[in-house]
Every structure is written in structure tokens, then in C-alpha cells.
């Protein structure tokens, strides 16, 4: 059974790689066995750092045990002071502390649900029978007792994924359970699921718990203690308050506003906080952030020194033309059907968006809020019906927003994506904002000038030369809004603008939205943030499956998933995946010895016979190996015209020569390409990457670190297509979608690369937090076996090319390397 552990920080500090200043320094904090602690503080203050430190995943092999006051780890971070988990160094105690992080996607290490929960147990070296007992038990405890273990994690909702991650954590029976904003990325329903699951688990589990969560409402009843981190005068994080939830939240001397902390609604104080919030929003909104006004107000100062011409003249006209009455309908969905391709998820949608007003699209995750917003904003094609725009907005353009070019679109409708990183297109903050001005016809100097003024208003001018990716979460969000506004659109659509933000950032975003709307822009926010709706909504449109929603969508289809076939035939699927790869090599490599039509032709015929014996018909073989069949004639042609010379020349022209030998060799090459590639495709088609990794580590005894690290990488690759789509849409909305195909491809690939490197970094943290790479011997939850059948397959695959080569040798056609 679980034994809770104590955690103790004394004089502890940490400095991130490449930073001059410590995140945390001189921290003293004792957490007793079995205590339930809530850690609060604004974004970036170091809460996650503390959790990672306890979990022993901060920096790779830290030089623990040394008495140096400052130690640099392999990742370049510097640690000082002491941190002990039950008297042990956290890295030694790795696996005794389980960490659950906020990004559900980054915690899905393996493809199948069951394997994911089992991953930590394998790393602890638990015996197989016990592993699966614990996997079922843990899934049951988080309310997923009914789920198939073979279900793919990519078909789970965010809430389900987080519960799978929680199951994986508690299956390890940790002494300390670390929860890092487990519900931050979820909609209210998912958040409720996860917090209920955590409650169920914590009721019976004696583990010590450290929780980080911005909104504590749902957690109060299971907490013993609240620790608030605030910044001291030196800018370092330190403990600003420490006590029971009742003491802390009813202490009038604590300035929660400046600490960036949400007070749970249970405490009366929040009413006061609420009132103050309203006031702040009203005051701030009065100040103007609209770039159209900015152009008018400050354009006089910008005169080209050479010609004395006013550089901004065209855009001023442009800005003036676009003044229109508040409350006028700008975009309207008329009997609109939305969905992907031909398949609609909702029909007959009618709703209107008005200038100067904030319209909220509310509803659960995954019902189609974003699909509707994207269709309205011209990023997705309507399935049926139409998106009608006002004459002012269209200003001469015909058709719906989807038919406009990217450049025409960005001047009219801007879309701010949920993940700001999907949207970045330039290397510096300044250039990022300049894009909008440049695309709408400003010259370079003018764009630079206007962009820096806009940045000043968004309080980002300090960073104008910084790389957008290096900003904090709230700053990134502000930057994306600023860069969208640069093209002075009349409609601004924001997808989940306040997702997982702390109170200060939240306030900034809310104020920003109000002032943008007050400048005459129609603002639409896709959100399920209750406070945001309460403070900002001029109009709320609900989307959902239930009857009382304004827009009713069809529920998502229930998926039933069995096991996917792992090969083209049932017999082949019983052969071990590693053996199937070996078979492919055995069949092909010997054939490289000789280049003659006889050995290749005989091998090819024998291979087809062998495939038939395995249950793959000739028809199936052709169907699945068609790319090889399509490529082979080209190889044939290349050898015919460039191949080695023979005695009779049929044709000669420059480098090209067709001779009797080249034709003969081409024919041989053609047959051999088929003999090598056809079985190489047919034998490995359908292999599941997890099964292959199991086989590689158990049968071939390859190092686990590489095998499972590689496996996680391959899984990550499969989720990239969604990102690719979104990055493409973001570029269209930024006005860059009209570029040449090749340019678009390369710039988009770069964004994708950055995104996947970031993903894989957090994935590797998740793997380490589950005890991967701790040096302990692993156990295997799944057995990869070889049977008699596998050996027969290997023998046959070795015999086919050998037989063909021997035959060629006796017939005298054998030719080493085509000699």
C-alpha cells in the first residue's frame, strides 16, 4: 500500500538554462506526510518548477550528493540548496512521486490506453500480472472502468486523456502525487470529470498531494493547506502566505489582486474582487487601442525625408472609409451547415455578429464551436448555406469569406488561434506585427513605425526585437491580438482567449477585448469561461447537443474500436513484427549479389507463391504494392539508356546509349526491383509501432531508451497532421496564404518543427516522471514472443533468394554486380 512521504525544501533555488536570474531562491518549505497542499501564484512564478523538482525531472542527471552550493545539471539549469523527498534526493526517489501535467496530449506516451497506464509500472519493474491488475483497478478508480484497453488515445476527449494520465500516475502507488493544473486545458465538463476523479482517488489514497491550480473552487474540500508564492522586491519568488484555506482566503491583509490570484467564489471577498474588476475593465476600455484610430492620430508625424511625401496617406483614407455605425450586422450565417468536407455536424445555423459588440459562442469542447467560428471567418468551407457579409465589409468583393484571397481576408476578418504558436510567422515581435501593415499596403518604414506604436499600446515594445516564441503565455496572446489588429480587420474572432491564464493575464485580455469592441470592431469569442461571459458578453450564442441550445449540433458518433488488423493476412499477423522485418531483409539482401533476369524472376515467382501460402492473393499483392509497380518502369528506362555498354549499339545520343547489354540489364533490374520491394512492402504493411518496439526490445534486445524514446517520437508524428492544418489556416488568416506554394510549405514546416520539438520536450518530461530512464530494470507489460511459425518463415525467406541464386549459378546467368 502507499506510504505517504514528506517533502522538504531548505534554502532551495533554481535558475533556468540561459537565464541570469533565479526563478526561486532561498525557499524553505516543509510538506508533511499525507498533507494536501494547494500552491498558488501568478504565471511564470515557478510553481511548475517546484513540482518538476519534487518529481526529480528538473534537469537530467543532476549531480546530487555533492555539497557544492550551486550545481549545474545537464540541461544547463542551476540548482542550489537542498530538496529531500522522504530523506532521499528527488532523482533517487523518481517513481515514488507521480506528476500529472496540464497538456493532455504531452502525457500520452503510447498509442493504446492500457499501455499508457502500464508504462510507469513497467519502468518500476513490476511483474506482468500485477501490472494489468493495477491498470484495470486504476482506470476504474478514475471512472474509466468500461473503456477498452486497446482503444487509441487519439480518439479520447481531453477529459478522458487527463483521466488516463491520472490513472497512469496512481497506478504507480506514489508516495507524493503532484498535480500541475490538471484541468487547465479542459472545458467545464471535462474539468468536472477530472476533478471528480481526483476527489475519488484522494478520498482513499493516503499520498501526499501538491496541487497547482489557478481556480481553487472545485478543490477546497480536499485541501489542508494553501501556500501562495509571490514576488519579493528582488523579483524572486517567495512564500507570501501559508495556512489553511479558510485562514488564507478570509485574510483581508493579503492582496490577491496583485498576486494574480483568483479567490474561490465561496469566500465573500470575491464579490469585492468582482466589483473592482468591473471598474478596472470600464476604465481601461475607455483608452483606445484601435490601430485605425492610431493611423489617423499619428500619421502626420511620419513624412518621408527624401520626397517630403506623407507616407501614410493611403492607409488614412483606408481607415476613414471604414467607419460605420455600431450595432450594424457585419457577418451573418444564413441557413449555414458546418463540418468537414461533405459531412455536416450542424445544419440550418442562423446567427449574426454586430459591429462594436462582443458575441460569445459558448458550449462544450468538441461540439463544433471552433468549426462554426472558422467557417464564419473564411478559414473553412461551408458545407451548405452561406456566410453573408455586409456591404461595408465586402467593399466590392463578391461571395463569402471563404472565396476571398488570404490578403483580402486579413483586412476584414481576423482569427486568433487558441495556441498562439500556431500563428507566429516571423523572427521578431516587431516584424510579427509589421506583417499586418505590410499586407494591407503600407510601406516598410510606415509599417515599422505603426507596428512599434501598436506594440507600445500593447505594452510589448520592450520585446520588439525578441523572438515571439520566447514570450510568456500572456504576452504571446497579446502579441497575436496585436498582430491581427494590425491589418485593421472589422471582425475579430478569438478562440478560447483566456484558456489556462492566471488572473492578471485574464484581466489584460478581457480589457483588451472590450476596448477593441468599443472601437467599432465586431468581436466574437469562442469560450466556456463563465467569468468572461459574465463580464463581456453583449450577446451569447450557445452551441450544444441538447434542445435548449441556440444552435443544435448532432452528437459525435460513438466509436467502437476493435483491434486493427496488423497484417494483410491472418497468418502473417501471427508472425512477430521484428521477424517480419528480418524476413523482408533476408528475402531482399542476397538478391543484390547477382544482377540477372533468371535469379530475380525465379525469386519473384517464388515470393508470389509464398505470399499466396501466407494468405495474400495476387490481386491483394498488386493492390498494395502499386507504388513499386509504378516506379519500376522508370528504373528500367534509366538502365536502358544509361546502363553498361554491350557489343551492339542500337542508339546513341549524348550521354544516352541503348545497347544489347543495357537492355538485358534493364530487364534484370526491373525484375529485381520488384523481387526486392514487393515483399518488403507486403510483409511489413500494418505493423503497429508499439508491437514493433516491444519486439525490438524483447527479441532483438535493442536498448530500451532508444526503442521507447523512438516509439514516443513516432506517435507524436501521427498527431502532427492536425497542427499542420491549423498552421495553414492561421497563415491564411494572417494574409500570408496567397504566397507561392513552395514558400508556404517551407515556412509552415518550420513552425511545425518548432511545435514538435516543444511537444517532444514535454513528452520526455512526462516519460521521466513515470520513471523512464531511471536505470532500474524494466519489466514488460506486453510479451513479444517468437514461435515455431516465425522460424519457418525465416527459413523460407532465406531459402527463396538462395535457391534462385544457386539456380542462376548452374545455368550460367549468375553475374556478380551485373558484370
Amino acid at each position: 500500500m502507499t506510504v505517504p512521504a514528506a517533502v522538504s525544501f531548505s534554502g532551495w533555488g533554481y535558475r533556468r538554462p540561459l537565464r541570469k536570474d533565479y526563478v526561486v531562491k532561498g525557499l524553505n518549505l516543509e510538506i508533511r506526510e499525507g498533507e494536501r497542499v494547494l500552491l498558488l501564484g501568478s504565471s511564470g512564478i515557478g510553481k511548475s518548477t517546484l513540482l518538476c523538482a519534487i518529481a526529480g525531472v528538473l534537469g537530467n542527471n543532476e549531480a546530487y550528493g555533492t555539497l557544492d552550493s550551486q550545481r549545474e545539471d545537464e540541461d544547463g539549469g542551476v540548482t542550489e540548496g537542498d530538496l529531500l523527498v522522504e530523506g532521499l534526493h528527488p532523482q533517487e526517489a523518481r517513481g515514488r512521486c507521480a506528476l500529472m501535467m496540464q497538456d493532455p496530449e504531452a502525457q500520452m506516451v503510447l498509442q493504446r490506453v492500457g499501455d499508457n497506464v502500464a508504462f510507469g509500472l513497467e519502468n518500476l519493474g513490476i511483474e506482468r500480472g500485477e501490472i494489468w491488475r493495477r491498470v484495470r483497478e486504476s482506470l476504474k478508480r478514475v471512472g474509466l472502468g468500461e473503456i477498452e484497453l486497446s482503444r487509441s488515445t487519439s480518439h479520447l476527449s481531453g477529459g478522458q486523456k487527463q483521466r488516463v494520465a491520472l490513472a497512469g500516475a496512481i497506478a504507480m502507488r506514489p508516495s507524493v502525487l503532484l498535480l500541475d493544473e490538471p484541468t487547465a486545458n479542459l472545458d467545464p465538463k471535462g474539468a468536472k470529470e477530472v476533478s471528480r476523479a481526483c476527489h475519488e482517488v484522494l478520498k482513499e489514497d493516503p499520498a501526499t498531494v501538491v496541487l497547482v491550480e489557478h481556480r481553487a473552487d472545485d478543490w477546497l474540500d480536499i485541501l489542508d493547506r494553501v501556500v501562495i508564492l509571490g514576488r519579493g522586491e528582488d523579483g524572486l519568488a517567495r512564500i507570501a502566505a501559508d495556512g489553511s484555506p479558510d485562514e488564507i482566503f478570509s485574510d483581508p491583509s493579503i492582496d490577491f489582486d496583485s498576486l494574480g490570484i483568483w479567490i474561490p467564489s465561496k469566500f465573500a471577498l470575491s464579490k469585492l474582487q468582482r466589483k473592482r474588476l468591473e471598474e478596472q475593465i470600464r476604465i481601461k476600455a475607455a483608452s483606445d487601442l484601435n490601430p485605425a484610430a492610431l493611423k489617423e492620430g499619428e500619421s502626420q508625424n511620419l513624412v518621408d525625408k527624401g520626397s517630403g511625401k506623407n507616407l501614410v496617406a493611403p492607409s488614412v483614407k483606408f481607415a476613414k472609409k471604414r467607419e460605420f455605425a455600431r450595432g450594424e450586422v457585419v457577418v451573418e450565417a444564413q441557413d449555414l451547415s458546418i463540418g468537414y468536407g461533405e459531412r455536416s455536424i450542424a445544419d440550418g445555423i442562423c446567427c449574426a455578429f454586430e459591429s462594436g459588440k462582443i458575441t460569445i459562442l459558448a458550449g462544450e469542447n468538441g461540439v463544433g464551436k471552433s468549426t462554426l467560428a472558422m467557417t464564419v471567418s473564411g478559414l473553412m468551407a461551408p458545407v451548405a448555406g452561406k456566410v453573408k457579409v455586409s456591404q461595408d465589409l465586402a467593399s466590392g468583393l463578391k461571395g463569402g469569406p471563404f472565396s476571398w484571397s488570404s490578403r483580402q481576408l486579413c483586412k476584414r476578418i481576423a482569427y486568433v488561434f487558441q495556441n498562439p504558436e500556431h500563428q507566429f510567422v516571423r523572427n521578431t515581435v516587431l516584424e510579427e506585427v509589421m506583417v499586418g501593415f505590410l499586407e494591407t499596403g503600407s510601406g516598410k518604414e510606415e509599417a515599422r513605425y505603426l507596428a512599434s506604436s501598436l506594440l507600445k499600446r500593447f505594452d510589448l515594445d520592450r520585446y520588439s526585437q525578441a523572438n515571439p516564441y520566447t514570450l510568456s503565455g500572456g504576452e504571446k496572446r497579446r502579441l497575436t491580438v496585436a498582430s491581427s489588429l494590425a491589418a485593421s480587420p472589422e471582425v475579430l474572432i478569438l478562440d478560447e482567449p483566456t484558456f489556462g491564464q492566471d488572473r492578471s493575464t485574464w484581466l489584460e485580455i478581457v480589457m483588451l477585448m472590450r476596448s477593441v469592441a468599443d472601437s467599432g470592431v465586431a468581436v466574437v469569442a469562442v469560450t466556456h469561461d463563465k467569468e468572461l461571459i459574465e463580464f463581456l458578453a453583449d450577446k451569447v450564442v450557445t452551441i450544444g447537443t441538447s434542445g435548449d441550445c441556440d444552435i443544435k449540433v448532432k452528437g459525435p458518433e460513438e466509436r467502437k474500436e476493435g483491434k486493427k488488423p496488423s497484417a494483410l493476412s491472418p497468418i502473417l499477423s501471427k508472425v512477430n513484427p521484428a521477424i517480419r522485418f528480418l524476413c523482408a531483409f533476408l528475402l531482399s539482401i542476397p538478391l543484390f549479389l547477382s544482377l540477372d533476369p533468371l535469379s530475380a524472376g525465379v525469386a519473384l515467382i517464388l515470393e508470389f507463391v509464398f505470399m499466396e501460402g501466407c494468405g495474400i492473393s495476387l490481386k491483394q499483392a498488386f493492390k498494395h504494392a502499386w507504388p513499386i509497380l509504378a516506379m519500376a518502369p522508370w528504373t528500367f528506362l534509366a538502365v536502358v539508356i544509361y546502363g553498361k555498354r554491350g557489343s551492339i549499339t542500337y542508339f546513341e545520343w549524348g550521354m544516352i546509349h541503348i545497347t544489347n547489354k543495357s537492355v538485358y540489364l534493364a530487364f534484370a533490374t526491373f525484375l529485381r526491383v520488384l523481387a526486392i520491394a514487393v515483399p518488403a512492402v507486403l510483409l511489413v504493411l500494418g505493423i503497429d509501432s508499439t508491437d514493433l518496439a516491444d519486439a525490438a526490445s524483447q527479441i532483438l534486445h535493442l536498448p530500451e531508451r532508444f526503442v521507447y524514446g523512438g516509439l514516443a517520437g513516432i506517435r507524436l508524428f501521427t498527431v502532427l497532421s492536425d497542427d499542420w492544418l491549423q498552421i495553414g489556416q492561421a497563415r491564411r488568416s494572417r494574409g500570408l496564404g496567397d504566397r507561392k506554394r513552395a514558400v508556404r510549405f517551407f515556412t509552415q514546416s518550420f513552425s511545425l518543427l518548432i511545435l514538435s520539438i516543444r511537444r517532444s520536450t514535454s513528452l520526455s518530461t512526462a516519460m521521466e516522471a513515470r520513471g523512464f530512464g531511471s536505470g532500474r530494470p524494466r519489466s514488460w507489460a506486453r510479451v513479444s514472443r517468437t514461435s515455431f511459425r516465425d522460424w519457418i518463415a525465416l527459413v523460407i525467406c532465406a531459402a527463396i533468394p538462395t535457391g534462385a541464386l544457386v539456380l542462376a549459378f548452374y545455368c550460367g546467368t549468375f553475374a556478380l554486380g551485373g558484370k
Partner: protein
């Protein structure tokens, strides 16, 4: 055109900067291609993948995994390209003379594109490092200080 396939090895190596990284990445990439289906030729892509990775790996090993700059990246890419060329003439293109006009021009073009790939992978690494995505790697910290 061959150059595009050579990206993985030098790029991974200059980022991770550990023995085996080039070979591991190129192999992983080819296994991924093999699993992705039939257009890449199934298991048979692993053979060129292995040789390309090996070529890049040898160069970095010769420098004892200590020299990481534009030139080692280009050299690695060149040897990787050379291996790729040699591999194709030992296998699919056996029938074409290595030293003939086609063989040599094929070599020239492969090396040229490999050189461009080497340059590309280095500048790509620099661009990635600038975004801060590599701060956890020694390579990401090498060119950056905040």
C-alpha cells in the same frame, strides 16, 4: 533532389550532439517511412537510411563529437550523400557504371544537394535555437544568452 532525405541526420546530430544521434535519427525516420505504408517501399527504405545515417555519424565521430559548426554539418551531409550515392549503385543501379558519365554526374548532383542540405540543416538549427525551443540542449544554449 536526394538532399531532402538527408536532412534528418545532420540536423539531429547538431541539436542533440551525442554519439549515435545521427544514425539513430536517420534510422528512426526510415522506420517511420516503412510503417507509414507502401509509397516508400516498406522495409527496403531502412537500408539506405542506415547508410545515410552512418555517413553523417562517421564525420562527427572523426571530430570526436567536439566540433559542431557549419563545416562539420556540411561534411557530414556530404559523406551521407556519398554513401547514399554508393548505396544506390550497389543495389538498384548496379547495371549502371559507377565511373560512367551518368554515375559521375549523379554523384556530382547528389554531393551538390547534400552540401546545400548541410548548409540548410545548420541554418535551420540556428533558427530553431533562436526560438528558445532548444534551451534544454547544450546546442540551444551555445548560440544564445539571455
Amino acid at each position: 533532389m536526394n538532399g531532402l532525405w538527408l536532412f534528418a541526420a545532420p540536423l539531429c546530430a547538431v541539436i542533440v550532439r551525442k554519439p549515435g544521434a545521427a544514425l539513430f535519427c536517420e534510422l528512426l525516420a526510415s522506420i517511420l517511412e516503412a510503417l507509414m505504408g507502401n509509397i516508400y517501399g516498406g522495409a527496403s527504405v531502412i537500408i539506405p537510411g542506415f547508410f545515410e545515417g552512418l555517413g553523417a555519424e562517421i564525420v562527427f565521430a572523426l571530430f570526436l563529437y567536439k566540433v559542431w559548426n557549419l563545416w562539420t554539418a556540411c561534411l557530414a551531409s556530404l559523406l551521407s550523400g556519398f554513401f547514399c550515392w554508393a548505396e544506390s549503385f550497389l543495389t538498384d543501379l548496379q547495371a549502371i557504371s559507377l565511373s560512367g558519365a551518368y554515375g559521375l554526374s549523379y554523384l556530382l548532383f547528389t554531393l551538390l544537394s547534400a552540401f546545400v542540405t548541410g548548409l540548410g540543416s545548420w541554418y535551420l538549427y540556428r533558427a530553431i535555437a533562436r526560438t528558445g525551443a532548444l534551451d534544454r540542449f547544450a546546442s540551444g544554449r551555445a548560440g544564445r544568452s539571455v
